[in-house]
Symmetry: C2
Subunit: 397 residues, 2 copies
C-alpha cells in the first residue's frame, strides 16, 4: 500500500454493519450480506464482534424457506447508558437513559446558573454520580454525557460563547471538567438545539423539517432540516430571540438593539407588560397561571406575544419551509392562546406553498425535550460508524 | 434469504467504490481495498466495470515500495455531459458541461417566460439539441438535463407551484416534456436554489454554510447548510422576497401583504423609486448603469435598498449562522454601494457570535451560477451510489 492513505484509519467494517441494525429491526446474516454486498463469512465475523459487545443481541429466528431457520439479530439499545443533563437559568434536569432515549431514572433540581461553572459543574458531577448509582447500572455501561446549557455554544469547542444569562461561563471547559468526573466523552450544546433534537427523535422521527421554538425567559430555536440538526457555522443557528419584530422598533432590548423578539414576546416581556397593567406577577410560570385562571389581561397579552412570535416565525417559514413548528418552553403552557396568535400572523404573512401543509403545535415531550436531545446527541456520537469501528480496532474483523 | 429485504435492490457495490474516486484524486486498487475493507479481488472487479464505462480512467502509476508499481485510477468527469438550462423572466442561458461543471459550449438568448411552457419548452428542446450538436459529443454521452426556473418548484414533483412571474406554468410537467425530447433524466428546481448550488460547488466547495441571495426583478435565496442545499419541506425554502422589512410596513407588495423585502429592495422597487424622483429608468440594468455613472440619487437609493436587504439578512444570519452571504442577480452589479448598505445593518443587528467570521460578497460566477448549479444537480443525481449501482445491475460485480 502506498502513502496516499496513510492518515486514513483502516476501518474494521463493523460500524457499517451496525448502522444497518440501528433501526432496531431484527435481521439475519443473509439480510446483512445482501444489503452490504459483503460475503456471509465477513458478516458473520462482524456480527460475532457486535454480539460479544452486547450492542447487538439475538432476537430469534426468521421464517425458514426450507432447512434450519436463520437466526436474527437486532440493536440492543439497553446495553449501554447515557447521562443527560439540561442546565437552565434556575433549574437542572438530569436523566440516565439507554441508547434509544428510554429514561431509566431522572431528577430535577433548583440551581443557580450564575453561581458559575465551578459550583454548578461540581454539583452536576455529584448529582450525576448519585443518579447513575440509582440506575443500578455498572459504571462501565456509561458511554457518554450530554449537556445542554441556556446560551450560545461554539460548536467546534463545545464552550459557551459570551452567554448573556450565564455570567462566568464564557469559554468554560464544561466537557473537560465532566470528562474528568465521568471518564467518558462529554458533548455540550445549546439547550434549544437539544430540545429540537429531542422532540424530533422522540415524537417526529419521520419529519424531515422541524423548527423547535422555546419561549421562556428568553426565546430561541433549534432547526432540523433534511432530518439533521443544523447548527450553522459557529453553532449559533436558531437565535430567534434577537430577530427584529416588524412594527416593534420602539421597544428596547437588553442586547442594545430595539424591537427584538425577546423584548416583545418572551416570558420576561409578558411579565413586565402585565406588571405595567397593575398585575402582581414575577415569573413566566405566574403568567401561565393567570392565563389558566382566565385572566383577560394575561390572555390578551399572551395572544399579542403570540402575534409577535408569529411575525418572526412567518419569516422563518419563508426561509426554512418546515413542515412543523413545535412551541416549547414554559410560556408554551399557556397553550392555545399563544398558538392562536402565532397561527394568525404566520398564515397571514407566509406564502401559500410554505403553509399549505404546515402544522404549529406545542411540545409533546413533557419538559424532557432537552434531556432526550442530550441523550440522542451522545448516542449519535458513540454509535457513528467510525466510533463503532474504533471500538473494535485491532480485533481483526 | 428471508422476505425481510425483498424490496431492497441488491447493490452491485460499484457505486460505493466510485464515490471514493469522485473527488478526482488518483488511487490504487490497494487504496480502495483499504478504505472499503473489501477484498482486492472485489475491488478489481468493480474498477474493471468503472473503467469499461469510461467513468473512471487510468491515471498512471503510484510510487512503488518495491516490485511492480501499482496502477492508479481516477474519476473522468469529461466522460459524460449534462445540458444545463437557466430560464429567467426574459432571458435563457444554456450550457453543455461535463460532470465536474466544466462548460464546453454555452448560449444566451432572449425569451419571454410568459409565452408559457409549450412555446418556451419547444424552444429549449430545439436550442438544446443545437447546442449539443455544437459540443461535438455523441448523444449517448448526455446523462441528464437540469433546468432552473424563476419561481417556486414543488420539490417532490419538480413542477412550478403558482409561480407569480410565470403565467401558465403552474403545475407544468417540465421534466416530462424535456425527457421526451432528450430521453434522459430531467431535474427541475428554482433558479435561486441552483445559483446557491452553483456558486457553492464552483467557488466555495469547502464552505459548509452559505446563503446565496439573488437581487433582481424579484428577490430570493438559496441555502447551503452543512454542505448541502436545503430546500425545506415543499422546496420553498429561501423565499426571502416576502419576508417583512422592519420599518417598511407601509409599502404595499404585489403579494397582497405590505412591507415585503421585494417591495422595498428589488430591482423593480428601485426603478419605481428612481422614477418617482424624476429619473428616466425602466430596468434593473438601467439602475446599475446609473450607479456606475455616479448618479447620486441612484447611489443613495441602492444603498437604502442594501439597508432594507440587510434588515432581513440580519434575521437570516441569526437563524442560519452562515459563514458567507453571496449577493448575485443583476442588482448585485451595483457592487459596493449595495454591499455597504447590507453590511451596515447586518453587523448592527446580528449577534457577535454569528458575525465574527461572516463574509458578505458579490457572486464570482459571472452570471453562470444557475447553469453551474443545474449541472451539479444532475451530476449529483446520476453519480449517486444507487444510480451507479443501477448502471451495472445484472453485470455481476
Amino acid at each position: 500500500m502506498d502513502g496516499l492513505l496513510k492518515f486514513v484509519p483502516r476501518p474494521t467494517g463493523v460500524g457499517d454493519v451496525f448502522q444497518l441494525l440501528r433501526d432496531g429491526r431484527p435481521r439475519t446474516r443473509a439480510d446483512l450480506a445482501a444489503v452490504t454486498g459483503h460475503a456471509r463469512s465477513t458478516i458473520g465475523q462482524r456480527i460475532d464482534l457486535l454480539l460479544s459487545s452486547g450492542l447487538v443481541t439475538p432476537t430469534g429466528e426468521a421464517t425458514s424457506t426450507g432447512g434450519r431457520p436463520p437466526a436474527t439479530f437486532a440493536f440492543a439499545p439497553g446495553s449501554r447508558i447515557v447521562l443527560a443533563v439540561d442546565l437552565g437559568a434556575v433549574h437542572a434536569q438530569l436523566a440516565v437513559t439507554d441508547l434509544a432515549g428510554e429514561v431509566l431514572v431522572e431528577q430535577s433540581a433548583r440551581i443557580t446558573i450564575s453561581d458559575g461553572p465551578d459550583t454548578v459543574l461540581d454539583w452536576v458531577a455529584e448529582a450525576g454520580r448519585e443518579l447513575l448509582a440509582r440506575s443500578g447500572r455498572p459504571s462501565e455501561d456509561l458511554v457518554g454525557v450530554g449537556v445542554g446549557v441556556p446560551g450560545p455554544v461554539e460548536h467546534a469547542t463545545g464552550r459557551p460563547w459570551i452567554p448573556p444569562i450565564m455570567p462566568g461561563w464564557d469559554g468554560a471547559d464544561i466537557a473537560g471538567r465532566l470528562r474528568r468526573a465521568f471518564r467518558v466523552p462529554v458533548l455540550v450544546d445549546n439547550d434549544v438545539n437539544l430540545m429540537a433534537l429531542g422532540e424530533h427523535s422522540a415524537v417526529y422521527p419521520q419529519v424531515e423539517h422541524l423548527l423547535f421554538v422555546k419561549v421562556a425567559t428568553g426565546i430561541g430555536a433549534g432547526i432540523v432540516s433534511d432530518g439533521g440538526l443544523r447548527r450553522g457555522a459557529q453553532g449559533a443557528a436558531g437565535d430567534l430571540g434577537h430577530m427584529a419584530v416588524p412594527g416593534g422598533e420602539t421597544v428596547p432590548c437588553t442586547c442594545g438593539n430595539t424591537g427584538c423578539l425577546e423584548a416583545l414576546a418572551s416570558g420576561g416581556a409578558i411579565v413586565l407588560a402585565l406588571r405595567h397593567e397593575g398585575l402582581d406577577v414575577d415569573t413566566s410560570a405566574g403568567v401561565v397561571e393567570l392565563v389558566r385562571a382566565g385572566d383577560a389581561t394575561a390572555i390578551r397579552l399572551v395572544r399579542q406575544a403570540g402575534r409577535d412570535l408569529g411575525a418572526v416565525l412567518a419569516g422563518c417559514v419563508s426561509l426554512l419551509n418546515p413542515s412543523i413548528i413545535v412551541i416549547g418552553g414554559i410560556v408554551a403552557q399557556a397553550g392555545e392562546h399563544l398558538l392562536a396568535g402565532i397561527r394568525e400572523v404566520v398564515y397571514q404573512r407566509s406564502l401559500p406553498l410554505a403553509t399549505q401543509h404546515l402544522r404549529i403545535v406545542t411540545t409533546h415531550t413533557q419538559g424532557r425535550a432537552a434531556v432526550l436531545g442530550a441523550s440522542r446527541m451522545v448516542a449519535d456520537h458513540v454509535l457513528a460508524p467510525a466510533a463503532i469501528d474504533a471500538l473494535f480496532e485491532g480485533v481483526g474483523a
